[in-house]
């Protein structure tokens, strides 16, 4: 059976530095898969490769049966992959609803002529997508913020907005890059529930995270990366008990303290 997303033996080099070294992983449809590892291990580089920002030196990436490595970012998004960023990249000078509407860009199927002359098609699609965006925001509890400017939102809501915006593209696979960064335990738990809800709605999630509680209580499968190489993979309980993984995070001596 062909996996929904599959990276086969991918290698990425920047000059003399090998950032990703012969890495392979796969994600099945409907799963929540996590990539964990120390800082600088190459996790965000993987995301950048998946979304077409970096080119592969070797290997290939397949999504939904099609080869996607080498495609331009906008083509990959149209194919159904959307992402959030480690340092939030909202459109700060635009309103919350406008941010989500930018997310619906590829779903708004009208041309320049339609917008210049305000045709029926334009009105219909704009109304449809605006209602859709408002509904999405309502469902995640950002209703009171619809008209606010994105940079006025508190941190946790900004992160939520980024995810809603990614979901609005119509993508089925969401790449979430450290969504819980900077959150306190309560916020992280809310986020975990939120991601589970996304999974229930049919999204496939690929997650980069450091928050082990979230990773262990959310993932169907985990890949552990260090210095660009895959050093372990398995189901949460397998990774939890692995001293090899502990050594990578905590150093040899800290392996005994590895408990969640």
């Amino acid at each position: 059976m062909v996996a929904y997303l599959e990276a086969k033996n991918i290698t990425i080099r920047f000059g003399g530095l090998t950032a990703i070294d012969n890495l392979s992983f796969k994600v099945e449809r409907g799963q929540a898969v996590s990539i964990i590892g120390p800082n600088g291990a190459g996790k965000t580089t993987i995301f950048n490769a998946l979304t077409g920002i970096y080119r592969l030196n070797e290997g290939s990436i397949h999504f939904d049966g099609k080869r996607i490595d080498g495609l331009a970012p906008w083509k990959i998004v149209s194919a159904g992959i959307a992402r959030t960023f480690q340092n939030i990249r909202l459109f700060s000078d635009m309103r919350v609803i406008e941010n989500v509407l930018v997310g619906t860009h590829i779903q708004m199927d009208y041309g320049f002529f339609d917008e210049l002359f305000r045709t029926k098609r334009f009105k219909r699609l704009e109304d449809e997508k605006t209602r859709f965006a408002a509904r999405l925001l309502r469902e995640v509890g950002l209703e009171k913020r619809i008209h606010d400017y994105a940079d006025n939102l508190p941190y946790g809501e900004q992160r939520k907005l980024e995810m809603v915006r990614a979901a609005a593209t119509g993508a089925q696979l969401l790449l979430l890059d450290e969504p819980a960064a900077g959150m306190n335990p309560k916020e992280s738990e809310e986020l975990r529930q939120f991601i589970l809800q996304l999974k229930d709605r049919g999204f496939t999630i690929l997650l980069i995270e450091h928050d082990m509680n979230m990773v262990m209580n959310l993932s169907d499968y985990i890949y552990v990366v260090d210095s660009g190489r895959l050093i372990a993979e398995g189901r949460p309980h397998e990774i939890q008990g692995s001293s090899k993984v502990a050594a990578v995070y905590l150093g040899e001596g800290g392996a005994e303290e590895w408990a969640c």
């Binding site: 920002i53 906008w74 960023f85 635009m94 509904r135 400017y149």
Partner: protein, 328 residues
């Protein structure tokens, strides 16, 4: 202070239909209101610079790409229309359309190499473009008559009726063009392309992650901006009947940019106010007339330092229009 601004904005917004209609009626009545030709000519110049500002605004205000060479598109529009009307006896409308196309093509040609450039480098390329156009106009003597310029450019003729200052024809033509360009800019701003351009301005990487084809959008901004500026050029050549390369200097590019920044980058209302202030003030403060380009530069510096969003560039607090749900 913020409170007052928001109340004013809400008030104006709620009365916008009446206010717009009133303003339009007043503007239509101007040629019959006893103003001297001198005043009417100033009003036409204000209108012309509003159009120029609206054009630059699409590239700089919406998309965040600062052009220091928009006089180049202005010149291309003016010279193309002038040459067509003088040498081929073409009517104004057709000449204007061809001028807009020529300017648009120039916009495409300048946009393409700048796609991968950011900020300062892009601005320098546009600066070079503006100068190249002016040099070309000076040296391409067989076509443009070089530094001697082109004289006796005919006034527009509509249905056998010549439009002049005296009969108000030029004034009404200006109003018509201004209305068309304003509506076009508003249409673009509140649509898919407008949002995409603003997204690119704020965070180009994130915009590309939304599936937006950023090179295409940036080129579209260049072309639209150039086309509007070219239209202004075509009208200008017919208005003043004489153009030469010195009408399209770097100073003009800076003037347009100053209007955009003073009024409020990214807004349409800012273009109206900016042009009104910067075109009218040299007429009022006659001693400043020779120093006006110095003033434009000072305006740029002061605005960018203290109020980069411009006089009318505050964030709108009017709620975004969400259409009602048809079913719950």
């Amino acid at each position: 202070m913020e409170r007052n601004k928001i109340d004013v904005e809400a008030f104006v917004y709620s009365k916008r239909h009446i206010l717009t209609t009133g303003a339009v009626l007043l503007l239509l009545a101007v040629p019959y209101s006893g103003f001297s030709q001198y005043i009417i000519r100033i009003m036409i110049m204000v209108g012309l610079y509003i159009i120029l500002a609206l054009g630059l605004n699409v590239l700089t205000g919406y998309t965040g790409l600062v052009s220091l060479g928009h006089a180049g598109f202005f010149a291309i529009g003016a010279y193309t229309a002038a040459i067509l009307m003088l040498k081929l006896n073409m009517n104004f409308l057709l000449a204007a359309v061809i001028s807009m196309t020529a300017a648009g093509i120039a916009g495409l040609l300048i946009g393409l190499p700048t796609l991968r450039l950011t900020g300062t480098y892009l601005s320098i390329v546009t600066l070079g473009f503006g100068e190249i156009v002016r040099m070309a106009a000076m040296n391409f003597e067989s076509v443009t008559n070089g530094t001697l310029g082109l004289r006796n450019i005919p006034r527009p003729v509509f249905f056998g009726y010549q439009l002049t200052l005296a009969n108000g024809g030029l004034y009404y033509l200006m109003l018509a063009l201004l209305a068309a360009v304003t509506l076009a800019c508003l249409a673009i701003k509140n649509s898919k392309l407008g949002r995409a351009l603003r997204a690119i301005k704020t965070n180009e990487l994130a915009a590309s992650m939304m599936g937006i084809y950023t090179p295409g959008c940036k080129l579209a901004a260049f072309v639209i901006s150039a086309v509007i500026t070219g239209l202004a050029g075509a009208y200008y050549s017919s208005l003043v009947s004489y153009i030469d390369p010195n009408s399209f200097t770097f100073d003009i590019s800076i003037l347009i940019l100053s209007i955009v920044i003073l009024g409020g980058m990214g807004t349409v209302r800012g273009m109206y106010l900016g042009a009104l202030i910067l075109i009218v003030f040299p007429e009022i403060a006659r001693p400043l007339m020779e120093w006006r380009f110095v003033v434009y530069g000072v305006v740029l510096i002061v605005m960018m330092r203290f109020k980069p969003q411009g006089v009318l560039g505050w964030r709108s607090s009017i709620p975004y229009r969400i259409p009602d749900e048809k079913n719950a």
